[in-house]
Assembly symmetry: C2
């Protein structure tokens, strides 16, 4: 099965969590909106699908994945679907529900990262909400960021599999997503992360372990990996990094 991933072509954003799973599994996929318009792909193909009125199950927003005739949206939902198919989820129902629960908690965290620079409206520029962003980011780095880091460190510590992973004995898609969170947070909040990281040895080790997985390492070194930039969810504004 060749999967088709649809996401904005110039940012990592939420699409990156899906890309990391596909890449780690060596899956056959195309990143549609990044391909040439001349081949019938590119942004026109993505917008065409979003506006397609005959689609019975329309996505609200990218990312979405086309798997055969199925069109699946919502990042965590895409990973719920892909996990077992890519060998990146536990086998039991309880294990899958737990992995998905962690992914949803990570999604809440990601929304808070975004809203730290866009607390008023996604449709406004950062500069139009900079004063509010300073207040929100101050709360984020002082209270919310350590709360989430504490939580995920605790989850690794309590994993009965003692694998250094979040869920079960092996790497699952939520480990790849946590790698991405740590990478993004280091880019966006280098000072806060430098201060906090020494308290979270398990998170740092998980990040290192994922980045050393052969397919992930090859992906990160490739042109398929979009660089962090000031249009994505993770943005580096020094004034927001207390």
């Amino acid at each position: 099965m060749r999967y088709e991933l649809y996401y904005w072509p110039s940012v990592q954003g939420r699409g990156e969590f899906v890309r990391l799973a596909l890449e780690d599994a060596g899956a056959d996929y195309v990143d549609v909106a990044r391909l040439s318009e001349r081949t019938g792909r590119g942004m026109s193909a993505m917008m065409g699908l979003l506006k397609n009125e005959s689609l019975a199950c329309p996505p609200f927003a990218p990312p979405f994945l086309k798997a055969g005739k199925q069109v699946i949206a919502q990042t965590a939902n895409i990973l719920l679907f892909l996990g077992p198919r890519l060998g990146l989820a536990p086998k039991s129902e309880a294990g899958r529900i737990w992995t998905h629960q962690l992914q949803l908690t990570l999604a809440d965290w990601l929304t808070e990262v975004h809203d730290a620079h866009h607390p008023i409206a996604g449709a406004l520029y950062y500069e139009e909400q900079k004063r509010e962003a300073k207040r929100r980011a101050a709360d984020f780095t002082a209270a919310r960021l350590p709360k989430f880091l504490d939580y995920f460190e605790r989850v690794i510590a309590r994993n009965p599999g003692k694998s250094g992973c979040l869920a079960g004995r092996g790497t699952s898609y939520v480990d790849l997503s946590l790698f991405q969170m740590i990478s993004g947070l280091r880019y966006a909040f280098p000072r806060a992360m430098a201060r906090l990281e020494p308290k979270y040895p398990r998170l740092v080790a998980l990040h290192g372990g994922v980045s050393a997985r052969p397919r992930i390492a090859a992906y990160l070194a490739s042109r398929r990996r979009i660089a962090f930039n000031q249009s994505g969810i993770f943005r580096h504004y020094p004034e927001l990094d207390a």
Copy 2:
């Protein structure tokens, strides 16, 4: 199986989406934090479970559901688990993924409702972020609210089952959740909703249909239904309702 629901006892909040599913199905459940401390329940039981260091799969926050030995958190995840067990989800995997996708989109919408009155920090009082809330709520009522209403109206219109429901031929948990969204939005933003609702006949009809389901009607009339109030996610601040 007697389910145990754990959620803050004085607000509807996210717990209400789970309560509606349990009530509609006539499920055997206890709402633990609302019961007496003298019976070993109440808030102490909830906080005890949250702080229990031997729990291998700790929730990040309420609501969470205890089903036998399993402890499941994240509202949409709880409903993913309960849906098939309560007869409130489609039978096929594709149908379940679609229903869950809609629930996750609804969860994003709910977060935006919350952040309309708390754009800076959940830990601060509304009065400490009132100026920012006015800006965010203005964008919410003008742009985001119609965008989500448009989307869910479209989903009902396109449902091949022509059932008036969101997914498939029968009522699923996401219909109950959409009922709760409409109810809450009417409480929080009566002026905006009065202006917008005429454009969304399918949403209005779904809301009416759910409220007339015998077990839901009985629940809404009972003392088990907590009233909307100014501590919940849906809050009525006239200055935020343009």
